[in-house]
């Protein structure tokens, strides 16, 4: 287990930033552990979600943003549903992920890469092109044969399209991406 010097690594503005962006009040958490008890992913997390909440209360920015937990959370909403303090815990995890991405501190590169492959496909075609997304992920992650065993199965069922279904308004979808990127640049 890591030992943290809370005084040295305390970052008060981080608590404020997360509270503002998530619309949640992390100080309401009294560490009952209900979120962790119901979390299906807790065995795979480096810090259980209740510990992420505690780290947040003590402003431990770097530890949180470099954690695996924030990328392995699937937003299944169990924690949010069961929090007795009515904190939207999944929304906080979502916010932490967004901040980590913005600051280029991504501990689970493959997860982010898969999301990026998905979004690129969407930007290009307007809808998700399943085969293209998988191939792009495989090439960029270096996991060239990820899920290659499933190929013949879906192929046999006639579920695979080898060409994307491009929609008419794909330029409009792409515009949402560019407008957002321009806005993000403007606001730093």
């Amino acid at each position: 287990m890591d030992t943290l010097n809370l005084t040295k690594s305390l970052n008060l503005s981080f608590i404020e930033q997360v509270s503002k962006e998530s619309g949640q009040n992390p100080s309401l958490c009294y560490q009952c552990g209900n979120c962790t008890a119901g979390c299906p992913y807790t065995h795979f997390f480096d810090y259980p979600v209740s510990q992420i909440m505690r780290l947040l209360q003590t402003g431990q920015r770097d530890t949180i943003l470099s954690s695996k937990a924030i990328w392995l959370c699937a937003t299944c909403e169990t924690c949010t549903t069961r929090c007795p303090c009515e904190i939207d815990v999944a929304m906080i995890m979502d916010t932490l992920r967004i901040i980590a991405r913005r600051e280029n501190k991504v501990s689970e590169k493959d997860v982010k890469l898969f999301y990026d492959s998905f979004l690129n496909s969407m930007k290009e075609h307007g809808r998700l092109f399943e085969v293209g997304t998988l191939l792009s992920y495989n090439l960029r992650s270096g996991n060239f044969f990820a899920d290659a065993d499933l190929g013949p199965k879906v192929l046999e069922k006639g579920k695979i399209h080898f060409l994307p279904r491009k929609i008419k308004g794909r330029d409009k979808v792409a515009k949402i991406f560019t407008r957002f990127q321009e806005k993000a640049k403007k606001h730093g």
């Binding site: 549903t81 493959d110 990026d116 992920y137 069922k157 794909r170 991406f177």
Partner: protein, 331 residues
């Protein structure tokens, strides 16, 4: 039933790996007299990946569709995929409850969304708008021997503030619909336990473990089939079942059907129309077990008659034995 028209947002999965969900949903709606229209030139909702980038951006990708649907004037959009539904609802609720959020989202769009669309799952439309009596009235066939574990997945009813439907801890909408069409439903403890589908590609081992638990619990509940309402859950439980078996050393052979396929089977629809052949784990045994409700009634009547006959024979035997006894006593 009065013809009511809904906008029907299929989402990307239902064009590809979940085509049988789309096929069976359309057939069942047709049988129930529910009119559906596909919004023209709809785009991807952005799903989980967009949410890891930015909340306004994610809402804008979803809201482009809400703008298109708003112009159709149906008021309600019905959505088979819980992931699309959740994203559309988040965008709709965020934009109608918070003006500054709405303005920020609309700044990213060509045409603004004014907040006039109510997104509902296809399950919700069936339960609340069509109703259990109407659903039951179309049944022509039975599936004797089938015991279904209803699997809702993580976000169909959660968080309650977004889903605004059914129970966030023990949902029963699918149970009720399946029971209404005469199917036996198992008491399944893992109705909501996340199967990990979103991480299927980058985190295969983790997902196989989670899927293993969901499948095991269905068997423990005495089920011989799982019913789902989510294309991601279905793909994960069905397509990856072989992977689970090789990773975990298990030997599952559990058919994973969309609830709409099961309903369609009880309506006498052809397996082909319902896309039964698209499932990876074969559901042929379930299809073959199908009989008409008349046959079922006959079967039940025969069973009852046989039981009555056996009872009568038993009674006669006992009476004879008693008679013998009294005779022996007399002599």
């Amino acid at each position: 039933m009065a013809e009511k028209e809904y906008a029907y947002y299929t989402g990307c999965s239902l064009e590809g790996t979940a085509v049988e969900y789309d096929m069976s949903m359309r057939q069942v709606f047709k049988a129930l007299g529910v009119g559906i229209i596909e919004p023209e030139d709809w785009s991807c909702c952005g799903s989980t990946p967009a949410h890891t980038v930015d909340r306004v951006f994610a809402a804008a990708l979803a809201a482009r569709n809400l703008t298109i649907i708003e112009k159709m004037g149906t008021g309600i959009v019905t959505v088979p995929c819980p992931s699309c539904l959740s994203v559309l609802k988040r965008a709709h609720l965020g934009m109608t409850q918070d003006e500054s959020f709405r303005n920020e989202v609309n700044e990213l769009l060509d045409e603004p969304y004014e907040g006039g669309v109510v997104p509902k799952s296809t399950l919700q439309v069936m339960l609340e708008d069509v109703g259990l009596d109407a659903i039951a009235s179309k049944v022509t066939h039975a599936l004797p021997g089938l015991v279904v574990a209803p699997y809702y997945g993580c976000i169909l009813t959660r968080p309650p503030e977004i889903a605004q439907f059914d129970d966030p801890e023990n949902p029963v909408s699918m149970d009720k619909i399946l029971e209404a069409v005469g199917v036996k439903v198992a008491d399944y403890a893992f109705k909501l336990e996340c199967c990990g589908a979103a991480f299927g590609v980058p985190k295969r081992d983790m997902v196989n473990r989670l899927t293993y638990r969901v499948l095991s619990m269905a068997l423990e509940a005495g089920a011989n089939c799982i019913a789902v309402a989510c294309p991601l859950c279905q793909q994960n439980l069905d397509l990856r079942q072989g992977q689970v078996n090789s990773t975990m050393g298990s030997s599952f052979n559990l058919p994973i059907l969309y609830f709409s396929q099961i309903v369609g089977l009880t309506y006498g629809l052809s397996p082909k129309e319902l896309g039964m052949d698209k499932l990876v784990v074969s559901a042929d045994d379930i299809v073959r077990s199908r009989i008409t409700i008349e046959e079922l009634a006959q079967r039940e009547a025969n069973a009852k008659a046989a039981e009555a006959e056996a009872k009568a024979a038993e009674k006669l035997k006992k009476a004879k034995a008693k008679e013998e006894d009294t005779k022996t006593e007399e002599t």
